[in-house]
Symmetry: C2
DNA sequence: CGCCGAGTTGAACTGAATCAAGAAACGTGG
DNA sequence: CCACGTTTCTTGATTCAGTTCAACTCGGCG
């Protein structure tokens, strides 16, 4: 997948030239993360936001029965963090783990301070991100409340065609809240339907 | 239920004296809303945030089969709006309806402009609200992915004991994503278990 | 070549939905 | 304050979507 550069990304989205964000981004740590390693574990305190320049992360919880539930994926160009932990200073409720070897930028409190001081419309942008996040979560809740496994899968396919190709089916199932076997059957069924048409 | 006053609410949460918010709040329209009337309908453009001073609102979608799915409740002291519609200028995806006769304050774009200009930490407060909202939605998704009907109900009981008493069971069921009959059975079961203990 | 994780398939099971009917609770008007 | 209709809740019988468990297939990859 194409690499995305935080500097470029910010310049574009904040409507400024790259030089304006250069010195801010230079302060940030860039990390190369090996597949399967953790950025945050449940119970730890998460102190950073993460911007994915390359690779793919996933965020998930583990319930009492030991089952994983994927909260979100983050491919390149996405921010991810445990907001509760960062913002409210609580132990993280979710794991954040690299599913592919990834390159990520660590964003700490200093980064936030600095950028919101230097770039006036950063706050606007950030608020927009928050609104987008909320919109997205609401949509997902609505789907979980109203749609069948098949409908949810179809929705996932159209919404995240790229991610679909990069993660094992098991993880898609976990994201959708269904058993891997069920997803397999759903797909079989869809294939049959399409063939009939 | 106790009435909550926006002026007081803001003064407390923004850490300013009431006078500072007085003139801002005075510009806002206060409305008396009859039970069952709508503040926003699916498809309409929502132009306001709503603060509930008294009463109880609910936000819900209707799926293709005509079924209602409750996205959220808003009792006194809560803000509610269709963020997508207000913020992204899209048609609302959800209905907002009064379940009780209510008194609400309409907050428009002017209000936002004015208050964020006059009161410096309003933005901080607002961001905090957004973070809280996200935390809350994440928790709900996690529950929908991992917990049984009974577990979700128990969680609701501890989380919203007040709302539980104010809305019919059907609505709680709709919020939890289960059929009313199922909720009835869940409750019966819980009663039996408690008796046995 | 042989192993290993991912996906598939089958069969039995189960939590929850649906449909239908009755019982309680509730508000309204007489 | 009672009688009434309406809405909400309960209960039972049946069905169904999705789970679980177990066995098997397939495609890498060391």
């Amino acid at each position: 997948m194409d690499k995305i550069n935080l500097r470029q990304y910010l310049a574009t989205n904040l409507h400024v030239v790259e030089n304006d964000v250069l010195e801010i981004v230079e302060h940030c740590t860039v990390q190369q993360i090996k597949k399967d390693s953790f950025l945050v574990r449940q119970g730890e305190y998460c102190r950073h936001g993460f911007f994915v320049e390359q690779g793919l992360l996933r965020q998930y919880s583990i319930d009492e029965k030991g089952k994983e539930h994927i909260i979100s994926f983050a491919p390149e160009g996405w921010f991810i963090t445990d907001r509760e932990s960062v913002y409210f200073n609580e132990p993280a409720r979710y794991f954040i783990q690299a599913y592919e070897n990834s390159q990520i930028v660590l964003l700490d409190e200093d980064f936030n301070q600095l950028i919101s001081k230097k770039i006036s419309n950063y706050n606007t942008f950030n608020t927009k991100l928050l609104h987008n996040h909320i919109r997205h979560l609401l949509k997902r809740i609505d789907l979980l409340l109203s749609a069948s496994a098949e409908e949810r899968y179809l929705q996932f396919v159209t919404m995240y065609p790229d991610i679909l190709l990069r993660v094992p089916q098991t993880m898609v199932a976990s994201y959708l809240g269904i058993a891997p076997e069920s997803l397999s059957r759903v797909r079989k069924d869809l294939a049959r339907k399409n063939f009939k048409k």
